[in-house]
């Protein structure tokens, strides 16, 4: 069992990053070039498969006329899949419930036009939404193979594990389903058996603990620079998931590398910083490079419905440069900014003014935004130059807004709320800024 902790991992990455410094320039150009030079980055699974780091997620597909919910545009879909295969993408992730239940069938049509040894199929046991009987599941399993026009499934996942331990037991253990799937694996009709996880930590721990008994070949987790340390309430930090799985030598496929698109469409303060570092690289490429940087990641799944997205991702992973330690720190800071210090969409139109309690609303918001834009926000008391940033924020606030008109004086009367054309909840943001200012003034740890 190789026990890689984050520190040594980062160190290793740092070295790799330095070695690849030259190659990075090439990646930069890659975002624009139609055909990527270089080879798709390949990773090796526990069963020895050579899997492309870019995986194709087959939940959303191009529709006729681009209308949401319309029929799938089969021509476009086939062109995308063919293009992906030509450029080294060989992992296709679908499920019986995707695309209104049509995904497996469409993928069967697209893929069966190619030789079966050129691609790996991943599909799932989607018995999470209702019937948990063996018969229902068995039918679903057989139907997947039929739809996908294949005798065996390369990667089979217990779909959406994580809501509760009882639910896991009910879906897979009590009905004997897992026993059946293990037998299918023994007989080669399932080549890798794993699960995908969304939800609670204790369920994750429980399923991971079953590894000794069942030997999971892989697992699928939600992983990106936000989820690493700042997972939303109903998810678990991917740093934890990753360490637990990596320490057991279980390779991982990644879902939501863009966290539902949020990491491709970042706030303007964030994109400005990314573009300043590399004007050629797309915003999304940062997230893809990040998701692929950890060594136990087998494949990063992206649901690509546009050729440009596919090309951009192929470019990112064809001359793949893992994030350097410095870049990982940069993205961690970006993650804090996006989760805890969102920009305030104030345009200083002054419609809210004058506040009858004398608050200089736009003045306060402008100073706050300025600190975020100019990377002067003391985002954590552990920051290297925390003292300097703290001083800049506090002294700067006093300079831009007389203390008599600062956020601490907002009583929350709410008169300003209906006046704001940007629908900013002004009192709530002012109170947040006041709390933050207090944290800085009191030298609290955060």
């Amino acid at each position: 069992m190789s026990n890689i902790d984050r520190r040594s991992f980062l160190k290793a990455l740092g070295l790799a990053g330095a070695a690849a410094a030259g190659a990075q320039l090439a990646t930069a150009a890659g975002g624009d070039s139609k055909d990527a030079a270089g080879q798709m980055e390949m990773r090796t699974s526990s069963t020895g498969d050579r899997v492309s780091l870019l995986g194709y997620g087959c939940m959303r597909m191009p529709t006729v006329g681009g209308v949401r919910g319309a029929e799938v545009d089969m021509d476009a879909q086939m062109r995308l899949i063919d293009y992906a295969l030509e450029h080294g993408v060989n992992y296709f992730d679908t499920a019986p419930v995707y695309t209104g239940g049509k995904s497996e069938g469409i993928m069967g049509q697209c893929l069966s036009r190619h030789s079966r040894d050129r691609y790996f199929i991943a599909t799932k046991m989607s018995n999470a939404w209702g019937d948990s009987s063996f018969d229902f599941a068995h039918k679903m399993y057989l139907n997947s193979r039929e739809q996908l026009k294949t005798d065996y499934i390369d990667y089979y996942l217990l779909h959406a594990v994580g809501s509760s331990i009882e639910s896991f037991n009910e879906r897979f253990l009590d009905n004997g389903l897992l026993e059946f799937l293990l037998k299918e694996r023994e007989e080669g009709r399932i080549r890798n058996l794993g699960w995908s996880f969304h939800g609670k930590k204790e369920v994750f721990d429980y399923v991971v603990s079953l590894h000794e008994k069942y030997h999971w070949d892989f697992a699928q987790i939600q992983h990106n620079y936000l989820d690493w340390n700042h997972a939303s309430g109903r998810n678990v930090n991917s740093s934890y998931l990753y360490e637990e799985l990596a320490s057991r030598d279980i390779p991982m496929t990644v879902m939501e590398p863009l966290r539902g698109g949020a990491l491709a469409n970042v706030p303007e303060s964030v994109s400005a910083k990314m573009l300043a570092r590399n004007p050629q690289a797309s915003i999304a490429s940062w997230a893809f490079r990040y998701a692929g940087s950890q060594p136990k990641i087998l494949s990063v799944l992206s649901g690509m419905t546009y050729m440009e997205h596919l090309q951009d991702n192929i470019a990112t992973y064809s001359i793949f440069v893992p994030c350097t330690q410095e870049e990982l720190e940069f993205l961690e800071r970006i993650a804090i900014e996006m989760t805890e210090f969102p920009l305030i969409e104030c345009t200083a139109c002054n419609y809210c003014m004058p506040c009858k309690y004398g608050i200089d609303i736009p003045g306060i918001f402008m100073h706050y935004n300025k600190c975020i834009r100019e990377d002067l926000m003391p985002m954590s008391s552990g920051d290297k130059n925390y003292r300097k940033l703290r001083r800049a924020f506090l002294v700067g606030m006093d300079r831009s807004v007389n203390p008599l008109h600062q956020a601490s004086h907002c009583i929350g009367c709410g008169d300003c709320i209906p006046k704001c054309p940007q629908t900013i909840n002004i009192p709530s943001r002012l109170h947040q800024i006041d709390l933050f200012t207090e944290k800085l003034k009191q030298n609290k740890e955060f």
Binding site: M353, Y357, G358, D360, H405, I411, D415
Partner: protein, 493 residues
């Protein structure tokens, strides 16, 4: 040589202690705080045995070097006297021997002791030399320093640097400024004309140390075989304690400045222990382009005043707070009780200078004249600050950790419903509750209001520590709807 050493040491101590009074950022407190704590009267009041013993021993060995090196008021007089001696040769040797005014010295000492024993703090504060200097430094030097700082702050702001930020220049209390001005003028006249007159007539510390220095191990001694009776030493003695006609030195008045030793051209004066001796002489070398400095400071002040940041013109101007004094005065955490503060405080103003929020102000009332008390207007006694307790040299404000401070009740908040915004304007507020660091304030539905339900603050007096956060963030102006009353004895909750 000895004189040069004395001047260097005195310059260092004086600069250090002056900086302590000037620094409003708290940066030098840890580094220089000891300079206030080795002052004799503060050491006695804080019962600092080590310092007292060391100072007594120092005096018993070397004479009153304390008065020439450690005491900032003494050094300040030396500087004034030095200025008064510049120019014509006649000026340089203008002093002469005078008879001791023992009755005056003893009377002053008795008054001092009595005022300490009976707790007449105003008198103690007036007589203590260190406090006198503290008042002068905080009333006159600190504003100058603040002006220069503000100029730098204005320049820094234009340059986008955060190295300086502006501070309040004027305004602690007029009474203190008046006392300081009277002291300064009187001292300046005395020192300019006659050197150390104050130290040898009024200063009670000088009297005590003078008594000890009579028996000091090292002492200036006149070698009568070498003395030609030229009186140069007598005329240069700022303590007026050398009587050449009888070849006697009044060692109780000698402040061991070593001026006489370097003045004597015949080597007849030596600073030596009862048995052996060694001496040397050199001339002074301290000069500051004072005029240039003052001129620049003046010009800079004007510039600084102009360079104030401009507010958004749409901001509604609000009246600055002007809360009435609490009925029972508020004393800073660490002072423990009014009694402790009254007994120990000598009104040196170091805490007032150190307070970053300008909450501490000197009292104008006669019973505790010039002693610190708290006023909450735009600021309050913030949880991350204990500077006053860390600088106080006398133990009037004992050192208090931030944790102790957070649980020390120095007063309690009182709500005035007829001023409260929800009652008067009908707006929902709760700013006091939102800012209360101890959670002592909860917003409750008001029962008495007719028709409309409003939420008003309810204060848990057991939890309230009297920090004044509520009072300073209360939107009602100029008098807050919630105000803190002091406690005579502080309580740990």
């Amino acid at each position: 040589m000895l004189r040069i050493i004395r001047i260097i040491l005195a310059a260092l101590c004086f600069t250090g202690i002056t900086l302590l009074f000037l620094d409003f950022t708290g940066a030098t407190h840890a580094l220089l705080g000891w300079l206030a704590k080795i002052q004799l009267l503060p050491a006695i009041l804080s019962a600092n045995i080590v310092v007292i013993a060391a100072l007594l021993l120092l005096t018993l060995i070397f004479g009153r070097v304390y008065c020439s090196v450690i005491c900032p008021l003494g050094v300040m007089q030396d500087i004034i006297a030095w200025a008064g001696k510049r120019g014509k040769k006649k000026n340089r040797f203008k002093y002469s021997y005078s008879r001791p005014k023992t009755w005056l010295r003893v009377t002053m000492l008795v008054i001092m002791v009595a005022s300490i024993v009976f707790g007449i703090s105003a008198v103690t504060a007036l007589l203590a030399p260190y406090s006198a200097y503290g008042r002068i430094a905080s009333s006159f030097f600190a504003p100058l320093y603040a002006l220069v700082n503000n100029l730098f702050a204005a320049v820094a702001e234009r340059a986008g640097s955060y190295a300086f930020y502006p501070t309040e220049v004027w305004g602690k209390a007029t009474a203190v400024v008046v006392v300081a001005a009277v002291t300064l003028v009187a001292l300046a006249i005395l020192a300019w004309r006659n050197g150390r007159t104050y130290c040898n007539t009024i200063c009670p510390v000088g009297t005590v140390l003078g008594f000890l220095s009579k028996f000091s191990l090292f002492r200036p001694v006149i070698d009568t075989s070498k003395c030609t009776g030229c009186k140069l030493c007598e005329k240069s003695c700022k303590a007026a304690c050398i009587d050449i006609s009888s070849h006697k030195i009044d060692r109780s008045r000698c402040v061991a400045c070593m001026d006489c030793i370097s003045t004597c051209t015949h080597g007849a004066l030596k600073y030596k222990p009862v048995w052996a001796a060694k001496n040397a002489a050199e001339s002074p070398a301290t000069d500051a382009s004072r005029r240039a400095f003052l001129a620049t400071a003046g010009a800079l002040t004007l510039a600084a005043a102009k360079a104030r940041a401009q507010d958004n013109t749409l901001v509604k101007q609000v009246a600055p707070k002007n809360n009435p004094a609490p009925k029972v005065r508020l004393t800073p955490p660490g002072s423990q009780s009014h009694k402790n503060l009254e007994n120990k405080c000598i009104g040196c103003q170091l805490c007032v200078q150190a307070c970053p929020g300008n909450i501490l102000v000197p009292s104008a009332s006669l019973e505790h004249f010039m002693q610190p008390e708290m006023r909450y207007n735009e600021n309050y006694c913030r949880p991350e600050c204990n500077r006053c307790s860390s600088v106080c040299p006398t133990g009037a404000i004992r050192p208090i950790s931030l944790e102790e401070k957070a649980s020390t009740q120095i007063g309690h908040a009182v709500w005035y419903h007829w001023l409260c915004v929800p009652m008067v304007e009908g707006d929902s507020c709760g700013n006091c509750a939102r800012h209360c660091p101890t959670g002592a304030i909860t917003m409750v539905e008001d029962q008495s209001a007719e028709g409309k339900t409003v939420h008003v603050p309810a204060i848990d007096r057991e939890k309230c520590i009297g920090c004044g956060a509520c009072q300073s963030v209360c939107p009602t102006r100029p008098v807050s709807a919630i105000q803190v009353e002091g406690h005579e004895v502080h309580k740990v909750i």
